[in-house]
């Protein structure tokens, strides 16, 4: 297609120089056999689509159709028993704007994302650099950093629930060595969300470390040797060479971290159930509560639309704006 187009453009004399005879011949042949060419191309398309079909069916059934159905559902009332759903226009959105718990969940989620994402990335990078150097017990360190990732979130949350127990939990026992009195970490409106942020960072940092570690291992040793010859300090080398070269990985990690901060609420179910007084309710947890505890499916659909729009905007923004500024090798 593309070649043909270029050839035609040349043939039309755009380039302004005489056409080589062989090319002119090729164009003539191509146009004479265009019917055959169309058929073959059509077959290629069908072939391609057939290959895509299994994946496409799954995507449409489990991703696109539910998203569209959710969007449509947000304009209807919740069917209850004998009462079917009726079209209510923007009523659900109006109710959402008036719902203080929705705003609180959104605010909580923004605080949660704005804290977990940078903390996780910095920690993951730090750990990756640490275990990338030649160090006694390096494999053990790598294993230790990676272990939290392997554990299921429910198990992690149950462990941390006891870490945070007032008095005899690990957190209080460690702090009591410095004479700090016992705290009711999860039972206090001011500390509960921070406690959950720590759990999320602890859980995800090891996972992202693996990506950074893989990227670091791919990096050519010539770069550091050249930098050493030029007399660059290690910090300068990291800042000007290593970190820019890690940017594609950082983008990947960033997207995953953002998705995780809106997608993973298992620890909230185990540790606080959104309490005390909604201070740890994240958006997805609130959607679960509205959908499967209150059985207000229409309102849950409305909240889901907001979450989808938020995530889609962020993903698009990242790909469009950040992608341009990243150096791919």
């Amino acid at each position: 297609m593309k070649i043909e187009g270029d050839l035609l453009r040349e043939a039309s004399g755009e380039v302004g120089r005489p056409l080589p005879r062989s090319v002119a011949h090729a164009v003539a042949v191509a146009s004479r056999h265009s019917n055959v060419g169309m058929g073959a191309r059509w077959a290629t398309h069908v072939n391609g689509w057939l290959l895509l079909l299994p994946a496409a069916v799954l995507l449409v059934t489990f991703t696109h159709y539910p998203a569209v159905a959710t969007f449509i559902g947000s304009f209807f009332s919740t069917p209850k028993g004998a009462r079917p759903a009726v079209f209510v226009g923007l009523d659900n959105y109006q109710a959402m704007i008036e719902d203080p718990i929705f705003w609180q969940a959104l605010r909580n989620n923004i605080i949660y994302a704005a804290s977990t994402i940078p903390l996780t990335i910095v920690l993951a990078l730090f750990m990756a650099v640490a275990v990338n150097t030649k160090l006694a017990g390096r494999s053990f360190m790598r294993l230790a950093f990676f272990t939290p990732t392997v554990l299921p979130m429910i198990a992690v949350a149950n462990i941390w629930l006891f870490f945070y127990s007032p008095g005899y939990g690990l957190a209080d026992q460690a702090l009591s060595l410095f004479g700090v009195p016992a705290h009711n970490w999860l039972g206090n409106e001011h500390t509960a969300l921070a406690c959950l942020i720590v759990v999320a960072v602890w859980k995800d940092a090891g996972f992202f470390m693996i990506f950074y570690l893989a990227a670091l291992q791919q990096m050519s040793p010539h770069l550091s040797e050249a930098a050493a010859l030029e007399g660059a300090s290690r910090w300068y080398f990291f800042r000007r060479v290593t970190f820019p070269l890690l940017m594609p990985t950082t983008l990947f990690v960033l997207i995953n971290a953002i998705i995780n901060s809106f997608r993973l609420v298992d620890h909230i179910v185990v540790m606080t159930r959104g309490g005390p007084n909604n201070t740890t309710a994240l958006l997805l947890y609130y959607i679960y509560e509205v959908g499967f505890k209150f059985w207000d499916t229409a309102f849950a659909a409305t909240l889901t639309v907001v979450l989808l729009v938020l995530l889609a905007t962020m993903a698009l923004g990242q790909f469009i704006f950040l992608d341009r500024r990243i150096h791919y090798q």
Binding site: F162, N184, G187, P276, K293
Partner: protein, 424 residues
């Protein structure tokens, strides 16, 4: 039309297999995670029932927590294949009725024996099982709140280790003696009343003692801002903030028994369902008592009921009634109570030889039964989870000091009234 359809269906079946009567298979959703001791007990019951009743098969489906089981049952209903029988929270009654998911028992209980059976349960348990003059649930695994105390801690504080605080003032007085302070640190608290997950339930242990009710029988009105309710909340908040005998902030339900075993608290309030747990794990002698009284006495009931789902054939519902009757027979109710710690749901279960022997060896088991005469229905209304959340949020805000008890209960009442306005 329906009888015609089932008649035709039956005729087709009869033609297809003229000699052998087809087995009736009942799907039975039960709220427990797969594996573990409870699953084995239920499997054992189902097998015994099938042996005694050839022709009926019980397909037990273990669906996780109460919440998971409700989600699965209602999702199955919406996809057109509801379970036949399920054990779900007694408080989900209004939700199940509003979803048009369940059918009342009354039309199916035709013989005198059936009618007598429906009346054989403790009235306290039936409060959450009946509304609008119909019976929607049959009590199965029910519980109440009781108070556990550490006898060693009582002795160390100079208190009579065999006497629990019997009223609110005594609870404060004992609590002050039991709280061990060392500078700003507290090594042992006087009392813990948990306040996460379902604080409203524990709160009912206080409101009932203050002679207040939280809702009407029809489940259309709540009374959260009545003075007696606010006073009960003030007492709860004061335990932490004024008397300083209870930790500040909300207290995690799940770790409260652990706090008790670790001697972090000398007294705890929790469900009778924890009796076996405490008996196995407490490293000290402990006592079990009724909740302390104030202007009255009492505790809410809790736990799960049998429900019958709609869309069952006459044949199936007859088999389902047979199964539920079998599961709640006095011997089984006694056996179930002994094995799990749930309160046996009918008086005659306590007269069985097995239960008498158990209570003689472990008198604490009878405390829950004796408290039943003071028990009230657990908070349950239309749009139940939303209304209870309004109350829970208010309770947690008050316990955290972000709202005064008055303000918290006024806000909760306003929100509950807003939610319930369409059910009047």
């Amino acid at each position: 039309m329906k009888w015609l359809a089932s008649l035709v269906g039956g005729a087709v079946l009869a033609l297809a297999s003229p000699a052998v009567a087809a087995d009736v298979e009942l799907s039975f959703y039960y709220p427990v995670a797969v594996g573990g001791p409870i699953t084995k007990i239920i499997d054992g019951y189902a097998a015994d029932f099938e042996k005694e009743n050839p022709g009926i098969k019980i397909k037990a489906i273990y669906a996780g927590t109460y919440q998971d089981t409700l989600v699965k049952a209602l999702t199955a209903l919406k996809s057109g294949e509801p379970p036949d029988i399920a054990v779900l929270l007694s408080t989900d009654m209004f939700t199940l009725i509003d979803e048009d998911a369940v059918t009342p028992f009354d039309p199916l209980l035709t013989s005198d024996a059936d009618k007598a059976w429906a009346k054989s349960f403790y009235p306290a348990f039936m409060e959450n099982s009946q509304t609008g003059g119909k019976t929607w649930g049959i009590p199965f695994q029910r519980s109440t709140i009781v108070m556990y105390w550490n006898k060693d801690a009582f002795k160390a504080a100079g208190l009579n280790p065999d006497k629990a605080p019997d009223n609110w003032d005594e609870l404060v007085a004992y609590g002050q003696k039991l709280t061990k302070r060392d500078g700003s640190n507290v090594s042992q608290w006087g009392v813990e009343i948990p306040s996460t997950g379902f604080p409203y339930w524990l709160f009912q242990g206080l409101t009932t003692a203050n002679d207040a009710r939280l809702m009407n029988d029809a489940g259309t009105e709540t009374y959260f801002d009545k003075p007696a309710v606010i006073d009960a909340l003030r007492y709860w908040v004061d335990l932490s903030r004024k008397e300083k005998i209870q930790p500040l902030g909300t207290i995690e339900w799940g770790t409260t028994p652990k706090d008790f075993f670790e001697r972090k608290t000398a007294i705890m309030w929790t469900t009778t369902g924890n009796l076996t747990n405490v008996k196995t794990n407490a490293p000290f002698p402990f006592g079990v008592a009724m909740l302390p009284a104030h202007n009255g006495r009492g505790s809410p009931t809790g736990g799960g009921n049998f429900y019958l789902f709609k869309k069952m054939t006459a044949e199936k519902s007859a088999a389902a009634i047979k199964f539920i009757k079998w599961m709640t027979a006095p011997e089984r109710a006694a056996d179930w109570g002994i094995k799990t710690g749930y309160v046996a749901v009918r008086p005659d279960a306590w007269d069985t030889p097995a239960m008498k022997q158990y209570v003689a060896g472990f008198p604490a088991a009878a405390v829950a039964r004796d408290q039943l005469k003071y028990a009230v229905a657990e908070l349950s209304t239309h749009d139940n989870q939303r209304v209870t959340k309004a109350l829970n949020d208010g309770l947690q805000a008050a316990l955290n000091g972000t709202k005064t008890p008055e303000q918290a209960m006024k806000d909760a009442q306003q929100e509950a009234a807003r939610i319930l306005r369409s059910y009047k």
